[in-house]
Every structure is written in structure tokens, then in C-alpha cells.
């Protein structure tokens, strides 16, 4: 506690520190919100300038950008079906349908509050958790547990947004198939690459999301305009009510826990946190069929978890020197510019820095509520722009976003192909969200699976010698059985 107060005093007792804090907050929000650029772009641009700041300011700046950047992309995901950053992709699954139903204010309001709650809870946990947690997480979660976690997540993916459970499974399996394109994770051999170096890089889920959601939406709306059926979305500036929030308290709590643990694990991070949390929301819900069609809980799960992952991601970075994602890797760069290396000693050698950073992350999360409240009342009016003007802007931003990801042209092609495919898939009851889930979880899952098999010397039963992995795999299998049996039983009852 005294450490935290000390850090706070340090942070706000220094005018330069306050200016940097505010700049990071607004910068992260803007870069997170504009598709095509994201917090990584901002992070890369400012990295050379951090050499002129003190180490404390530099690290604190990155931490604040991380917090506000993860939230920032939610707004465009909800309003235009374009996730500003990968972490916000699952937010679009339900956020955009809500906008179409004229509930954009509620969706953004929930995103704001949940980002803030998730992030603040995570910042508190981060401060309480000693480096011990990092040690424990690294020991307890090996490739076997990561595979089991992904399997567990995939077992409900079929329930998201599809016309029937079988169409859902076909969508997920198509995603898993797409995940195999590129270089295999075991031996680096090309698969389905057709001798193209570009395809060796694999199909990334961001261009797929931009295509399935943003581009195909332009086609869908264009179709409606041509057929004279287009209705401009109603604008909702209503904030969610207390009752609505209270109903979702368990969902939020579950998402905080999930997001936090996903954030701690190196290589998982905020993006997977959002996806896994979304899947859990579906699993635990009494109405899984409502997801993907405008369920508030979907927005809550995704936004709570991705912000909860931010605080957690700092734990392996600071305690072990293991960055879990690209932004934390840049933070390492900022440390190194100042001749420091994060690691077990940093809590002793750079005590002030650590606590100023923790305090800054805490207050950045708190500030999101205020900024977000203003945003809810203002940004939704962007929907007043006629769609015929909005459409080219969406296509342009999506194209930039797809290219900016890895600076590879293949991503732009993937996006447009996915856009065309998405137009037809969505009309026929297949789930584009399921395909995206299959792709992102398939990549991580396969990598973890081959590593596990090598570690266990190709003995599949090895998974069941590890309690966490065994529990997750069994629960996943149970979910699949229940999901398959339930609809057919319902159908049989209906027939009788």
C-alpha cells in the first residue's frame, strides 16, 4: 500500500509525468480506435524518443498506451464492425449487431465500463501479486496446458453465431483448416503454400476479420441499398442501466479471472484472452444461441478480459523478463534503451519505476470511464454519416489495416477474398465468427499440441498426467457431447 501511494505521489507530483500520462492515455485511445494504425504503431513511432525521457517515464508511457489502446479499438468494432485492434475482434461479434438494433450506446457504454473494471481489477491483482505468481504461472502452464485451454475454448466455438450447431461446427473446422496454411509449427515445412513465399507466412486472423466483418458488411448494406431495403441504423446514446450491469456481474468476474490468467502466460496475451472469455460467456450462458446476434454479455466478456490481460501481462515482463506480446516486447526495448533489463531483479533495482508504472496503469484504467463516457455521447453520432459515404471509408481503412499488420500484400488479398466469402457465408447461416475462432485458436493450439507431443515423447496419455490439462480436456469433451446431444434431443421431442 505504501508502495502504491509512493508511486502515485511520484506520478502526480511531477508535471512532466502528468503530461506524459495524459499524452499516453489520449494517444493510445486514438491509435487504438483508428483501424489501420494501432497501439503498436504508436509504440514503434515513439520508441526512439523514449531515449530522451527518464526510464520511469518511458515505461510508464508504454504501460498507459497499453491500457488505453486495448480499450480504444472497441468503439470502431461496435460502430462499424471494424475492430481497431485484434484484442477487440470478439467485441464486434455482438457489438455491431447491437448497433444495427439501435443499441450502440449500450454496447459502447458496456465496453467502457467493463474495460475499466477489468483493467482496474487486473491492476490491483498485479500489485498484490508478487513475482511469485509469475514463477508459478510459468511452471504450471506448459504447452500441454495451453493446448488443453485452446481445446476447451474450441469446444463451444460452434455455438457462436451459426444457424445450426452443424453449420457452426463446419465453420469452426473451416477455420481450423485455414490455420494449417503456411509453415507447420513442428518442422517448418510448407503446407498449402503452393510455392508462394507469401502464403508461407500463413493466413492471419486480422485480415480475415476485416474481410468477414467490415468488407462483407459493405456488400450486405450495398445489396440492401440496391434493393431499396436499407434503413440507416438508429442512434442510441443510452448508457446501460445499473440493472443490466448487475445481471452481468458474474460474467464480468469470470472474464477478469480468465483475462488475468491469459495475460500472465507468455504467448497468449490480450487477444486470446478476449476470445477465450467470449467462448466462456457462450458456454455459461443459458441462451448461447443469442451470441453473435447482439448479446450484451458478449461485449462485456470480450472487453473485460482484454483489459484484464494488460495488468497481468506486466507480471511475466517485469518479474521474469518474458514479454507476452508485441507491445510488451517494445517495452523491453524501452528498458534496454536505458541500459536496463527487466527481470527478477527489477523489483529491487528499480523499485520506484515499478510502482510508478503500476500506479499509472491503475489510474489509466480509472480514467477510461470518464473518457469513455464522453465518447459514448459523441462518437455514436458518426452513424449519422450516410452509408454511401461511409462505405468507401470503411473499405479504405480496412485495406490499410490489413496491410499495416505485417506489411505483406497477401493480407490485403485475404481480406477481400474473405469479404466476398463472408457475404455468402453470412447469408447461408454459417458463422464467420466461428471461422475466425477456429483460425486463431487452431494456430495456437496446433503449436502447443506438437510441442506437447514432443515433450511427452508422443504419448497422448501424458495430457492426463497433468491435472489442469486433464480437467480442461475432459470438460471440453463433455461440452461437445452435450452440445451435440441436446439439439438432437430437442428435435426429437419436437417431432414427437
Amino acid at each position: 500500500m505504501t508502495d502504491f501511494l509512493g508511486g502515485t505521489a511520484h506520478l502526480f507530483g511531477d508535471p512532466v509525468g502528468i503530461v506524459i500520462f495524459l499524452a499516453g492515455l489520449v494517444g493510445g485511445l486514438l491509435f487504438g480506435a483508428i483501424p489501420g494504425v494501432n497501439m503498436l504503431t504508436l509504440g514503434a513511432v515513439i520508441l526512439p524518443f523514449t531515449a530522451y525521457m527518464s526510464a520511469t517515464h518511458a515505461i510508464m508511457l508504454y504501460a498507459v498506451i497499453y491500457v488505453s489502446g486495448v480499450y480504444g479499438g472497441a468503439v470502431t468494432a461496435i460502430l462499424f464492425n471494424i475492430p481497431g485492434s485484434p484484442e477487440n475482434a470478439p467485441t464486434a461479434f455482438d457489438g455491431y449487431p447491437m448497433t444495427q438494433q439501435g443499441r450502440s450506446g449500450k454496447a459502447i457504454g458496456a465496453a467502457v465500463v467493463c474495460s475499466s473494471v477489468g483493467g482496474t481489477a487486473s491492476a490491483l491483482l498485479m500489485m498484490i501479486a508478487t513475482p511469485r505468481i509469475a514463477d508459478w504461472a510459468v511452471r504450471a502452464f506448459g504447452p500441454q496446458e495451453i493446448f488443453a485451454l485452446v481445446f476447451f475454448g474450441l469446444s463451444v466455438a460452434a455455438a457462436v453465431g451459426a444457424g445450426s450447431i452443424w453449420k457452426g461446427w463446419l465453420s469452426v473446422l473451416l477455420g481450423l483448416l485455414l490455420a494449417t496454411v503456411g509453415t507447420d509449427p513442428a518442422g517448418g515445412l510448407p503446407r498449402f503454400a503452393f510455392d508462394s513465399y507469401y502464403l508461407l507466412a500463413g493466413i492471419h486472423f486480422i485480415p480475415l476479420i476485416l474481410g468477414f466483418f467490415a468488407v462483407s458488411e459493405v456488400f450486405v448494406q450495398g445489396h440492401k441499398i440496391a434493393a431499396g431495403l436499407h434503413l440507416p441504423p438508429k442512434i442510441g446514446v443510452d448508457f446501460p442501466t445499473w440493472r443490466e450491469f448487475w445481471r452481468l456481474k458474474f460474467a464480468a468476474l469470470r472474464s477478469v479471472v480468465l483475462g488475468f490468467f491469459a495475460g500472465i502466460m507468455p504467448g497468449i496475451g490480450a487477444t486470446l484472452a478476449a476470445f477465450l472469455s467470449y467462448n466462456e460467456a457462450v458456454r455459461w450462458s443459458r441462451h448461447p444461441e443469442r451470441f453473435g446476434k447482439g448479446e450484451l454479455e458478449g461485449v462485456v466478456a470480450s472487453e473485460t478480459a482484454n483489459n484484464a490481460a494488460t495488468g497481468a501481462a506486466m507480471i511475466p515482463l517485469l518479474a521474469l523478463g518474458l514479454p507476452g506480446g508485441a507491445l510488451t516486447a517494445m517495452m523491453m526495448g524501452a528498458f534496454q534503451i536505458h541500459g536496463m533489463d527487466p527481470g527478477p531483479l527489477v523489483f529491487m533495482t528499480a523499485h520506484d519505476l515499478v510502482w510508478v508504472t503500476f500506479a499509472a496503469m491503475f489510474f489509466a484504467n480509472v480514467s477510461i470511464i470518464l473518457l469513455g463516457f464522453i465518447e459514448t455521447k459523441t462518437v455514436v453520432h458518426l452513424l449519422r454519416i450516410p452509408f454511401r459515404i461511409l462505405a468507401p471509408a470503411i473499405l479504405l481503412l480496412a485495406t490499410i489495416g490489413a496491410y499495416a499488420l505485417r506489411n505483406l500484400l497477401v493480407d490485403v488479398w485475404v481480406m477481400f477474398l474473405a469479404g466476398i466469402a463472408g457475404y455468402f457465408l453470412r447469408r447461408t447461416g454459417y458463422s464467420v465468427a466461428g471461422i475466425v475462432l477456429g483460425l486463431i485458436l487452431g494456430k495456437i493450439g496446433e503449436g502447443a499440441f506438437v510441442k506437447s507431443m514432443q515433450i511427452m515423447h508422443y504419448n497422448f496419455l501424458g495430457f492426463f498426467e497433468r491435472p489442469i490439462a486433464a480437467a480442461l480436456i475432459l470438460l471440453g469433451l463433455a461440452t461437445i457431447v452435450v452440445n451435440v446431444v441436446k439439439p438432437s434431443r430437442v428435435a426429437r421431442q419436437a417431432a414427437e
Binding site: P48, P266, G267, P316, L322, R406, K451
Partner: protein, 334 residues
């Protein structure tokens, strides 16, 4: 004399460790060929942000910027084990405005036929800026083995059971070195590739694998924090910084260990005067105090880390020849 030359003079020559600085008086500014470069240069990094190649490229970019006076834009194009960036590099005009970083994997990929471009012929190396050796690390508190001898003994008693994390795929430097080592000493391990550095290091520290094959500059902080312990240096003689760790001579193996090297390339069609100018600029940047400090932190001062264009070509040709021979031996290629 310009500002840059003065800076160079201020730097104590001892820092460099290499012979290349000692005979240099003050660095002369080379005349720019025509107006080159008059706009920013793009530096393509075929790997992701935060890794060894990315760190080197950013350090080199800021040093080269100071020499040539225009900006260098670092662009990461990761994917396909360093291959996804190549088509864009080859598609860019050969005007010297596009430079690509690549590691020894370019030579191994060419040797195994996985890429068609010969890095020494189709590309023109401007400089190799890092040459480094590998080590094998274990957890310091491992109860089963605590040095190289006990490690090999354990591996022989449990053939194929000891797991080693590395970054390399089949045929890469890591795998070939291990293959030689295992062949000469008669033991067998299970190699597991982790492409993300953080996962690789966490796998060792967290106890999911038994050992790690890595270069010391990348794991320096773990060594200093006593989270990892080197048990073998893959170099003929012991380098000064690791005087307590056995090297190849100590354990009585004869093969010449393969080194990791990272360099910078332009396409071979770049006008000669521009290529010469860039080669000079990268050398000047390499010698700058900031870059030397960076390289020293990565243990790159322990062996000669710089090659000019001619030296780099020789190094790549040698690597390609060696790997081709190895691949035939192990049946990877015909």
C-alpha cells in the same frame, strides 16, 4: 571535420575489442553518390518486433541514420521462418532504398533449396554486424545434471528423452550443430522448436523442457539473474566472458561449430556507387560508440562480428557449402 567524426575520436578505442578500429585515424566522410540517399531508406526485418534481428536492426538503423543523414524506416515482415519478407524485397526497385536484414538461415534455406535466391549472389551483403556462438543452457537447480558431463551421462542413460528447446527448424544452424554434437559423443535428444523467444525461455525456466540451445546475448539477463546456467560453449576455445564453461576443445569434439550471423543486404542490381556508399555507411555505423555499446551487451565483442561485402560473401559461401554437404550426409537433400 564533421560532428560524427569528432564523436568517433572521443570513443576510447579499447571498447571495440577488434583490430578494425586501432589503425583508423579519424573517419573520413565518404562523398555521397549523386543525391543518394535523398529520402528515407526502408529496412525490412523478416522477423517480428522485439527479437534479436529486430533489436539489431533498430540499433543499426539509428546508427546509420546519423551517418547518412536521412531516416531509416524499420519495417517488420515476419512469417514463414524468414521467408515471407523475401518477395517484397525482391519486388522493390534495386535503387539502394530498400535494405533487408537476414540471418544465417538465408544461407541454410538456400542450401536446402527452400529459397531460390543465393544470398551471396542474388543479394549483395552490405555488412555482417553480428557473429555469435551458441551455448547450451540448463536450469541451475536441476537435480539430474549440473554440468556438461553429467548432462551427457543422463542423456545416454535416457536415450531420446532429454528435451532441448531451440528456434530452428529441420536443417537450421541449431539442429545441425546438435546433430554433429550428438553424433560425435553418441547420445540422442529430442529437439523442440519454439518460434517465440519468450515461450522458449519460459519452457526452460518453467521446467517444461530440460535444456535450451541459444546465443548468450539473447539470454544475458537470465544468466545474470541465475535463472539459466550455460554448460557448453559451441566454440573451439573458451571465450573470456565464459571462462568457466567448457568449450568444444575441452569435451574433445572435432567438428567446427556453425555460427549465427546477422547481416544487411541490398539486391545485387543496385548501382555500384550506391552499394559502395551503403557499405561504407554501415561500417561507419558499426564502429559508432552507440552501436558498439549495443553489440557489447549482446556479447558480440567476443568474436569478430564485422564483415564487409567481400568478407560477408565469403562467409555466406562457406556456410552454403558446409550446409549443402551436411544435408547430403543426413539425407535431407539429394
Amino acid at each position: 571535420m564533421n560532428r560524427f567524426g569528432k564523436q568517433l575520436l572521443l570513443v576510447p578505442a579499447g571498447i571495440f575489442g577488434m583490430s578494425l578500429m586501432t589503425s583508423l585515424p579519424a573517419a573520413e566522410m565518404m562523398k555521397k553518390p549523386g543525391d543518394f540517399p535523398q529520402r528515407p531508406i526502408t529496412l525490412i526485418v523478416p522477423y517480428g518486433a522485439g527479437g534479436g534481428s529486430d533489436q539489431l536492426s533498430r540499433a543499426m538503423a539509428s546508427a546509420v541514420e546519423k551517418v547518412v543523414g536521412t531516416g531509416i524506416q524499420v519495417v517488420n515482415k515476419p512469417g514463414g521462418g524468414g521467408r515471407a519478407a523475401i518477395p517484397d524485397f525482391m519486388a522493390a526497385p534495386a535503387d539502394g532504398y530498400t535494405v533487408m536484414e537476414h540471418i544465417d538461415d538465408a544461407a541454410t534455406l538456400y542450401a536446402s533449396g527452400k529459397i531460390k535466391q543465393n544470398p551471396a549472389k542474388d543479394w549483395m551483403p552490405l555488412a555482417i554486424a553480428q557473429v555469435t556462438f551458441s551455448q547450451i543452457y540448463i536450469r541451475p537447480d536441476d537435480k539430474r545434471f549440473n554440468d556438461w558431463d553429467s548432462f551427457v551421462k543422463y542423456a545416454k542413460a535416457n536415450p531420446g528423452k532429454v528435451t532441448i528447446a531451440n528456434v530452428g527448424n529441420v536443417g537450421a544452424m541449431e539442429r545441425v550443430n546438435m546433430l554433429f554434437l550428438e553424433k560425435e559423443l553418441g547420445f540422442k535428444t529430442q529437439q523442440i522448436s519454439f518460434d517465440k523467444p519468450a515461450e522458449r525461455y519460459a519452457a526452460l525456466i518453467g521446467g517444461h523442457v530440460d535444456a535450451l540451445f541459444e546465443q548468450p546475448g539473447d539470454v544475458r539477463k537470465f544468466l545474470e539473474a541465475d535463472k539459466m546456467k550455460p554448460i557448453l560453449t559451441l566454440l573451439k576455445d573458451r571465450p573470456s566472458a565464459f571462462a568457466n564453461v567448457p568449450s568444444m576443445k575441452d569435451i574433445g569434439v572435432k567438428f567446427e561449430p556453425l555460427l549465427r550471423f546477422r547481416g544487411f543486404y541490398v539486391r545485387s542490381g543496385v548501382p555500384k556507387d550506391r552499394a559502395k556508399y551503403l557499405e561504407w555507411a554501415f561500417h561507419e555505423a558499426f564502429k559508432s560508440a552507440d552501436f558498439q555499446a549495443f553489440n557489447k551487451k549482446k556479447y558480440m565483442h567476443l568474436i569478430d562480428s564485422y564483415r564487409d561485402t567481400a568478407g560477408a560473401k565469403r562467409m555466406i559461401d562457406n556456410a552454403v557449402k558446409t550446409y549443402k554437404k551436411v544435408y547430403k550426409e543426413i539425407g535431407l537433400t539429394k
